[in-house]
Symmetry: D2
Subunit: 106 residues, 4 copies
């Protein structure tokens, strides 16, 4: 999750602009997909991408993710850690090592 | 950015499975888009979504974002804070307050 | 655009299930993104993908695109042909040949 | 599938620019996701979108879908019709009528 300082900054940024009214979970989900595609666009024609553009687009995805965690009232780190437990169960080290095969085909 | 503890966990999770070989920035960008769409799917037919499913999908997006920050060798919080400065410039409080209009049409 | 026969089939499929009520342009736009990501998932870890899965996912994207053209009351072929004219203007053969550079950087 | 005339135009457009070299199935899948997100962006903050912008973005998604069908050597209409058969099986009229519930929860 973002540092408390960054969270305060993000909240202030939104509050000043009165943008909370637009930040329904649904709109934030759309926004995350839109920004994710802008990140993907850096790699549209291959793996070689402009580093600073990549960092900027990744920051946009993260920003909307943090705003969504805020809106849901959850701790982002805790959500990631909990999901990691589930994923560990789906991909045991023994069968998953060195392969990118999806769990339901392992 | 994630706590140091969570970062260590994520790194260990990847290392144990020898999955770093798949985590090129390009593949991670694709993965972020794929997971973002699974989050969006919670809202495919409207704003009413299953809360625990939403949290789980948001966690997946964040996980790949953190892995990408790792791969790029950047501090996620710093990237978000830097981008926030840029966005503040594009959306001055005076003109942006209360509107969802894009900056190039403000 | 799809053949008249296929269009009739698509309409009948939706009508029988009374699904037109869910097919707002916004919901269809979300659906297109969601299906596009399932197509992308075939290539998540590289260029080698299962052909029949790719074809099935491409069909899903096309299905929602056709439903959206229907909902908008437009002829899909005409829309594509019109956009092609615009794109020809942005990417003149002389400057665009053999490069994947975006028009605003050409 | 597009009319033969449109297909010929699309092929000519790509050939003139020597862009076939960039159109691997993987790159086209990324492109479809990227354009789908631009379509989604029309609806980022709600259902009210600019009609001509929506049509233009839908055309971009369709264009890349047709290029992918070309690259795969398949007939787009046939793929859609085949998938419709599968979907009919997953969503029988009796249980699916009037509900947007996913087949695995019906």
């Amino acid at each position: 999750m973002p540092s408390t300082e960054l969270l305060v900054e993000l909240r202030e940024f939104v509050r000043e602009r009165d943008w909370g009214q637009f930040h329904s979970p649904e709109n934030l989900a759309k926004s995350i997909s839109i920004e994710a595609a802008e990140l993907l666009e850096c790699f549209q024609w291959g793996g070689d991408a402009d580093r600073s553009r990549v960092i900027g687009e990744l920051a946009d995805v993260l920003t909307y993710c943090y705003l969504m965690a805020e809106r849901l009232g959850i701790d982002a780190d805790e959500a990631v850690a909990n999901k990691l437990l589930v994923t560990r169960g789906k991909y045991p080290v023994d069968t998953a090592r060195g392969t990118s095969t999806k769990y339901d085909e392992l």
